[in-house]
């Protein structure tokens, strides 16, 4: 008998010949479709020590210059080049090795979805967000978000996302509560998270 058959057989025996009928799941909690409040997103991001910038698409390069001017950044292949100022040394990720990625100062990406209620941005590996590793090793992450990518709560985000893609949900910079259960920002992931929120609509 294989271990698979053994485990499944044990579980079937545990449930007995007459297992309880599957329970109906009451879903009376707030459903998807609530108003997406960009101001709330900004407050919640700030609350967990992310830095929020609100500007027009044409001003993104200026913000990136403020945060990363004079430093080396990695960018995913699909990132709009107009977001990068001439003051940064940009390397496009072309399956760069981890040592190379660990040596750059920052990363600039877009995002897939943002959740206002929890102050969360979600990356799904699309060409303007790139491989998971590029937003992990550099110490500064600048994430550019359109306001129409902002949703109200978790149910909206789950409905919008495709589980077949690798997903990274990010709520503020890397943090820990492991010392006296007190929250400290800055452990292994990027220690600085900047979120740039653009007005709604596709860029012109």
């Amino acid at each position: 008998m294989s271990s698979r058959d053994l485990v499944l057989g044990r579980l079937r025996a545990a449930l007995g010949p007459d297992p309880a009928a599957p329970a109906d799941v009451p879903r009376d909690y707030r459903p998807a479709g609530g108003p997406a409040d960009v101001d709330l997103l900004a407050r919640r991001l700030t609350d967990y020590r992310a830095t929020v910038h609100r500007c027009a698409d044409g001003e993104v390069a200026r913000v990136v210059d403020e945060v990363l001017g004079g430093r080396r950044v990695v960018v995913p292949p699909g990132l709009p080049r107009r977001w990068l100022p001439g003051t940064v040394e940009a390397v496009t990720d072309d399956r760069l090795g981890s040592a190379r990625l660990a040596a750059v100062d920052g990363v600039v990406t877009a995002a897939a979805v943002a959740v206002a209620e929890t102050g969360t941005i979600v990356l799904d590996g699309a060409p303007d967000q790139g491989r998971r590793i590029i937003t992990l090793l550099p110490d500064v992450h600048v994430c550019v978000l359109r306001a129409d990518q902002v949703v109200a709560g978790l149910p909206d985000a789950v409905a919008r996302l495709d589980p077949r893609r690798p997903l990274t949900w990010i709520s503020g910079p890397s943090a820990t509560s492991d010392i006296e259960l007190d929250r400290v920002e800055g452990v292994h992931g990027p220690r600085h998270l900047h979120v740039v929120i653009l007005p709604p609509g596709p860029p012109s």
Binding site: A13, P19, I133, P166, L181
Partner: protein, 480 residues
């Protein structure tokens, strides 16, 4: 491994893993209670987390509805567990992953050890995982010459301090910042001798120490918070980024999960991702949640192995009342509100699962005879039930397990003899009157609080014996 009755639910085997303590709870608790530093550390930490968790839970107008949904989803999972696991296996396999089944800790340890050995690496990096602590994976790897590096800060503190974890979420909760600094100075290679005990400085020291491990270790082991049957998606919830490192950087990823962690649908995550962080770390959302489905070409590990672990869970499932302990999402809210845990800490429970949930889960995984004192490690105050985000009725389970424990003991005890005698007397009025008169005579024997003679003395070790009244109600009634 027990193969006596193929296909019958089985408890976790002895001699492997960390589900059984070396001594009963009262003995271990007495030692913990004598450590004032431990009690200060625990009191500070649990007070902090209770306030934070309460604040973010109050922000949600639908917390109770989310709890009800979470509880119902878990009940549905248990009722359909075999078919959901087969569905999960098919989805993970279709997405390029490999699924392994482990009947118990011995088999899971062997599977993981073989997979690591096949990569040729003598080192593996780990994301904090209760399942791998439960099965004693690090010891099994060490026996095969493989070094396991814990990358979660609290696990690292425990590992460097050659200590044992004492909390589900924060295994080093029993250590304060000054103690952590001492551990780092003593055991962390290359640490700056000028290290202060500021939490930010301690976290930065861990960042420097582990960076090279992350960049050079080709294989990682993780647990799973959720596994979606319909899509094959695995979710790991964390804070520091060590999880992202282990899930993204190595060539081979091995995930060990208890079979009860499966959820039916992708949509179900909208419930648990709201419940878990608020109940656990008291955050609206934890800093990082990683989700992956099999392997993604060009992004992350090239090989993904999922190990589905029974190790006593089938025995828990077989108990229709007890099985709700398998709803647990390992948030540790019940520990943080428990007056017993707050005073004794986690080590007293013996098992890697401490606190109220440990008191009902460990005895069921091992069989109640191997953790017989744990169902009694509670005042039945009910705070754990109120705090549980998936509404596990822990007090009900504690009473259920106490009954199971008493029923399993065939030999009559002093207590059972006394209770049977009392029941007989109360059924027979003449006897009852005679016993009351006899009890009054004990006033001559000694003062209040003096205690009972053996074999009843155990009952009065921690209790004052009430003084029998000079006159019983019946006597008073008869004479008026």
């Amino acid at each position: 491994m027990s193969r006596t009755f193929l296909g019958m639910p089985a408890t976790a085997p002895r001699g492997v893993g960390h589900l059984r303590g070396d001594e009963p709870f009262p003995a271990a608790a007495r030692r913990a209670l004598a450590d004032p530093q431990l009690r200060r550390n625990l009191g500070h930490a649990t007070t902090t987390i209770r306030a934070r968790s309460g604040a973010v839970i109050r922000e949600l107008p639908d917390w109770e509805q989310l709890r009800a949904a979470g509880s119902a989803i878990k009940a549905d999972v248990l009722a359909r567990l075999p078919e959901l696991l087969e569905q999960l296996e098919a989805a993970v396999t279709a997405a390029g992953g490999t699924v392994h089944w482990a009947a118990d800790a011995v088999e899971a340890n062997r599977i993981v050890t073989d997979l690591v050995a096949a990569t040729g690496s003598d080192r593996v990096m780990k994301v904090k995982s209760m399942a791998t602590q439960e099965i004693g994976l690090n010891e099994a790897l060490a026996a095969a010459g493989i070094t396991a590096v814990e990358t979660d800060l609290a696990e690292l503190i425990v590992q460097l301090g050659e200590d044992r974890p004492s909390h589900i979420l924060v295994p080093a909760i029993h250590r304060n910042r000054a103690e952590i600094r001492e551990i780092f100075l003593r055991a962390m290679p290359g640490v700056d001798p000028a290290l202060t005990d500021e939490p930010a400085a301690l976290a930065a020291a861990a960042r420097r120490y582990l960076r090279q491990t992350f960049l050079t270790t080709p294989v990682a082991v993780s647990g799973a918070n959720f596994a979606v049957a319909e899509t094959g998606t695995i979710a790991v919830v964390e804070s520091e980024g060590n999880g992202r490192m282990c899930l993204t950087l190595p060539e081979t990823l091995i995930t060990v999960m208890g079979v009860e962690k499966v959820v039916p649908t992708w949509r179900d995550l909208e419930v648990f991702l709201q419940l878990l962080p608020r109940a656990s770390t008291g955050e609206r959302m934890n800093p990082y949640t990683s989700m992956w489905t099999g392997v993604t070409p060009g992004d992350g590990p090239r090989a993904f192995h999922l190990v589905l672990l029974d190790n006593g869970r089938s025995a828990v499932l077989a108990d229709r009342v007890g099985r709700q302990a398998l709803h647990c999402i390992r948030c540790s809210a019940c520990l943080n509100v428990c007056p017993v845990y707050e005073r004794t800490g986690g080590h007293a429970y013996g098992s890697v699962y401490p606190g109220p949930i440990g008191a009902v889960l460990s005895p069921q995984l091992t069989g109640v005879e191997d953790n017989a004192s744990l169902p009694y490690a509670s005042s039945l105050c009910g705070a754990c039930y109120d705090a549980c985000p998936v509404k596990i009725n822990i007090p009900e389970l504690l009473v259920h397990l106490r009954a199971a424990h008493v029923a399993a003991r065939r030999r009559p005890t002093a207590e059972s003899v006394a209770m049977a005698a009392a029941a007989y007397a109360m059924d027979h009025p003449a006897w009852y009157a005679a016993v009351q008169r006899a009890a009054r005579l004990t006033r001559l024997a000694g003062r209040r609080g003096r205690g009972l003679p053996p074999p009843l003395s155990g009952w009065t070790i921690g209790r004052d014996l009430p003084e029998p009244p000079a006159q019983s109600f019946r006597d008073w009634w008869a004479r008026r």
